[in-house]
Amino acid sequence: MSIILETREVCKTYGSSKAADHISLQIPQGSIYGLLGPNGAGKTTLIRMLTTITKPDTGLILFKGEPLQENHASRMGYMPEERGLYKKMSVLDQLLFFAEIKGVKPQQAKITAKKWLARLDMQTWENKKIEELSKGMAQKVQFLTTIIHNPEFIILDEPFSGFDPVNADLIKDLILELNKNGATLLFSTHRMDNVEELCDYLCIVDHGQVKLNGEAGGLRRKMFKNQYEVGYLKSVSFLEDYLQPISSVQTADGRNIYTFQLQNSSEVEILLSLATKKGDLIHFSEALPTIHQIFVDTIKNNSNG
C-alpha cells in the first residue's frame, strides 16, 4: 500500500490557538479518506496546508514521498465547503479558467471540459453565465471545476451539503467512478452516513489533534464493546432472564431489535440459546459501533479528559 499524502508532526498556531497540534496521518493511495471533526477542530487548517495555501509552522508534509511543493497543488482538486464561482462568467469559460490555473493547456482543457459537460448532459448550458443557472446546476459546475484537470488527489469539504438527493447521488457516483479510476479522495465532513457508506479510512480530529485514525472497518472492530443484537418479528420479553437487553427498538419494517451488553465472548453462546427459545429468531449479530458512535464517543472522551 503506497501513501499518496503524509503529514508528520504538523503544527500550526494562530495567535494563541493551536489549529494543528502535532498532526501525523497517512492517506493511502486510491483510498477514500474521511476527515471528521466538530466545527473548529482544525479541519480547514489542515486542508489549507495540504493544498499549499498555507505552510505548517513545524512538521513535514509529503506528497508521494516528496516534501510538498506548490507544483504538487496542480495535481490536486479542492472543493471548499462554501462554494463560489464567478457569476458573470460562462460555464465553459469558468471550467477553462480553473483548468488553466492548474496548468492544463487551453486546447486540452477545452476537450476535457466538453467531455464532462456532455457526460452530465450540460452541453446546452456551456455558454450560460453562472448567475443564470439554478443552484443545483451551479453546484455541478463547481464539482466539475474541481476535477477538470484530472487530479490524482481530490479534497472535498462537505461535498454533499446543499445538493438535492438526485444530484447528491450523481456526485456520489462520480466520486466512486473517479476513485475506481485511481483518484484518492479526502472527505471533510460531519455527515456520518456518507462516511460510513464511502470511506475506507477515517481520521477524527479535535482541538487540532488526531484523536483516532485508521481503516474504517478495523476501527469499528477495535471499538467493539461486546454488544450483540437479537431480532424478532414479534416483540418478546426478557424480564425473567439472566441477560437483560440494554436497549430495544422497533424498526420501520416491523422488526424488534434488542441489544445486549455481554461481559465477554463466552456469553455469546448463552445469549444465542436464550434467544432461540423466545420465538422465531430472524436476526443475530455483533453490534459494531457506527461511525457516528465512534465519533461521538471520541469527541466526548476527549472533552471529558
Binding site: 489549507r48 493544498t51 499549499t52 495555501i53 498555507t54 505552510k55 509552522d57 506548490e70 497543488a73 496542480s74 490536486m76 479542492y78 472543493m79 471548499p80 462554501e82 462554494r83 463560489g84 464561482l85 464567478y86 457569476k87 458573470k88 462568467m89 469559460d93 479558467f97 480553473f98 488553466e100 490555473i101 492548474k102 496548468g103 471545476t145 474541481t146
Partner: protein
C-alpha cells in the same frame, strides 16, 4: 508568470466583454465632450443679474470730474441728499443701493461705502473698485492739465504673446492656456482612472473573498500572482478604454469638422472685422494658424511618455492598496474606513496640480510634489505639456517605481492573509501585523 497571465487574461476578457464597459467606451468621448462643453458654457455664460438696478451716488468732495453713470446692471444717479435720507430711500426699496465716497484727499481713496440689501459679489466689488480707480486716475490726469480726448487716446491695450525659445534659438508659439488645459485634463484622467479602476480591483477582490472563490484559486496560484494578475489585467482594461477613447474622439472630431467645419469658416468670414477679442489685432487666418501652431508645438513625445509611465506607476501603486483593502474587508461597508487615507493624497494631488499649474508649473511646490510618489502621478502629468527636464522625469519615475515595488510587496503580504480571514473587520494594527506574519 504563466499563472499571472492566466489571471490577467480572465480579468481582462471578462471586463472587456462586459456590456457596461462597451457602452462606456463608446459613449465616453460623447460624455466627455458634453461635460467639457457644459463647463465651457457655464464658464463663459454671464451668470450675473440682468435686471437694471438703480443706485444713488454721492461724491462728497467732488473727485469725479467724469460722470459716473453705470456699472454692470447698475445705473447711477448723482445725489446731494444727506446720507440718512439716501439710506432711507434704499431701505424702502426706492433705490437698490447707495455709493458714497468719503475721502477728503485725492491721493488715497480707501473709504468707499456701498450700501445695499444684497451684497455685491466678489467679482462685482472688484470690478467696481477698478472702475472707480480708473475714474480717479482720469480725474488726476485732468487735474494736471490733460484734455479728455488726449487721455482716451493714451489708453493702452495689451495682450501678451508667449513664445518659447530652444537651445538652438528656434522660436515657437506657445500658450499657457492650452498647456494648462491639456495638463489638467490629463491629470483628471489619471485621477479618475485610479479611482474608478482602483475600486474595481477592490470590489473584485472582495467578491472573490466573499464568494470563497479565492480559496480554490490560491490553492493553485500564489496570492501575489493573483493580485498582480488582477492589477495588471485591470490596468490593461483601463488603457484599452483610454486608447479607444482617443481613436473615437479623433474620428469624432474628423467627422464633425468635415460636416460643420466648412459652415463655421463661412460664417467666420462673414463676421465684421475688428471684432474685439484676443485675436483682434491679427487677421483671422493668422489667429487660427497661431492656435494650430500652439497645439502642434506641444512636446507630445514627452507628454505621452510621462502619461504612460506615471499613469501606470500611479495606478499600480494605488491599486495595490485598493487590493489590500478589498482583501481585508468582509463587506463593502468595511472598506470605507480604509478608503479615506488612501484617497486623501490623491485628492490633495489634484488640488496642488490646479494651483501650481496656474501659478508656476516649474516652481518649488510643483517640484517637491512631483517627487512624492503619492502625488507625482498627477503632478508630473499636469506639468508635462510645459516641458520637464528628462533628469527630473527620471528621478521622479525612479522614486515612484521603487515605492510601488515596496507597496506591492507590502500590500501583497496583507492580501495573502486578508483573503483567508473571515469574521470581524481588522484594525490598522492587525493589518500591520499581517505584513510580518509568516505563511
Amino acid at each position: 508568470m504563466d499563472k499571472i497571465w492566466v489571471i490577467l487574461k480572465r480579468e481582462y476578457i471578462t471586463r472587456v466583454k462586459n456590456k457596461m464597459f462597451i457602452i462606456m467606451t463608446l459613449l465616453g468621448p460623447i460624455l466627455i465632450a458634453l461635460f467639457y462643453g457644459g463647463i465651457f458654457l457655464v464658464a463663459t455664460q454671464d451668470a450675473s443679474d440682468k435686471k437694471i438696478r438703480h443706485a444713488l451716488f454721492k461724491d462728497n468732495n467732488g473727485f469725479f470730474a467724469d460722470k459716473l453713470d453705470s456699472f454692470d446692471n447698475y445705473k447711477f444717479k448723482t445725489t446731494t441728499l444727506a446720507k440718512s435720507e439716501a439710506l432711507k430711500k434704499v431701505s424702502s426699496g426706492e433705490y437698490d443701493s447707495y455709493l458714497e465716497i468719503n475721502d477728503k484727499e485725492l491721493q488715497t481713496i480707501d473709504s468707499i461705502d456701498w450700501v445695499s440689501k444684497k451684497t455685491l459679489s466678489l467679482l462685482q466689488s472688484e470690478k467696481l473698485g477698478n472702475l472707480l480707480a480708473s475714474k480717479v486716475y482720469k480725474t488726476r490726469l485732468q487735474n494736471i492739465g490733460l484734455s479728455k480726448g488726449k487721455i482716451d487716446s493714451l489708453k493702452p491695450a495689451a495682450s501678451v504673446h508667449t513664445i518659447e525659445i530652444d537651445e538652438n534659438g528656434g522660436l515657437k508659439n506657445s500658450s499657457s492656456m492650452a498647456k494648462s488645459g491639456i495638463g489638467i485634463f490629463l491629470a483628471f484622467v489619471v485621477y479618475m482612472f485610479i479611482f474608478i479602476y482602483g475600486s474595481m480591483i477592490m470590489r473584485s477582490t472582495l467578491e472573490e473573498k466573499t464568494n470563497r472563490i479565492v480559496e480554490v484559486v490560491i490553492s493553485s496560484v500564489k496570492p501575489f500572482q493573483l493580485m498582480m494578475g488582477k492589477i495588471l489585467g485591470v490596468a490593461l482594461v483601463g488603457l484599452t478604454q483610454f486608447a479607444a477613447w482617443i481613436v473615437l474622439s479623433l474620428g469624432f472630431i474628423t467627422v464633425i469638422s468635415a460636416v460643420i467645419g466648412g459652415k463655421m469658416i463661412e460664417t467666420a468670414q462673414k463676421l465684421p472685422t475688428g471684432m474685439p477679442g484676443p485675436g483682434a489685432a491679427l487677421s483671422k487666418n493668422a489667429a487660427g494658424g497661431q492656435m494650430l501652431e500652439v497645439f502642434s508645438n506641444l512636446p507630445y513625445g514627452q507628454i505621452i511618455v510621462i502619461f504612460l509611465i506615471f499613469f501606470l506607476g500611479g495606478f499600480l501603486l494605488y491599486s495595490s492598496m485598493f487590493a489590500a483593502i478589498g482583501s481585508a474587508a468582509n463587506q463593502e461597508t468595511d472598506t470605507q474606513q480604509f478608503m479615506l487615507p488612501i484617497s486623501l493624497p490623491l485628492v490633495f494631488g489634484i488640488v496642488i496640480a490646479q494651483t501650481t499649474v496656474f501659478q508656476d508649473p516649474h516652481g518649488p511646490m510643483a517640484k517637491i510634489f512631483s517627487l512624492i510618489p503619492f502625488t507625482s502621478p498627477i503632478l508630473m502629468v499636469v506639468r508635462s505639456p510645459f516641458g520637464i527636464p528628462w533628469s527630473e522625469v527620471a528621478l521622479s519615475a525612479l522614486i515612484l517605481i521603487a515605492t510601488f515595488v515596496f507597496f506591492v510587496w507590502m500590500t501583497g503580504r496583507i492580501y495573502r492573509i486578508g483573503i483567508l480571514m473571515y469574521g470581524k473587520k481588522p484594525t490598522w494594527r492587525e493589518l500591520g501585523k499581517w505584513i510580518f506574519r509568516k505563511n
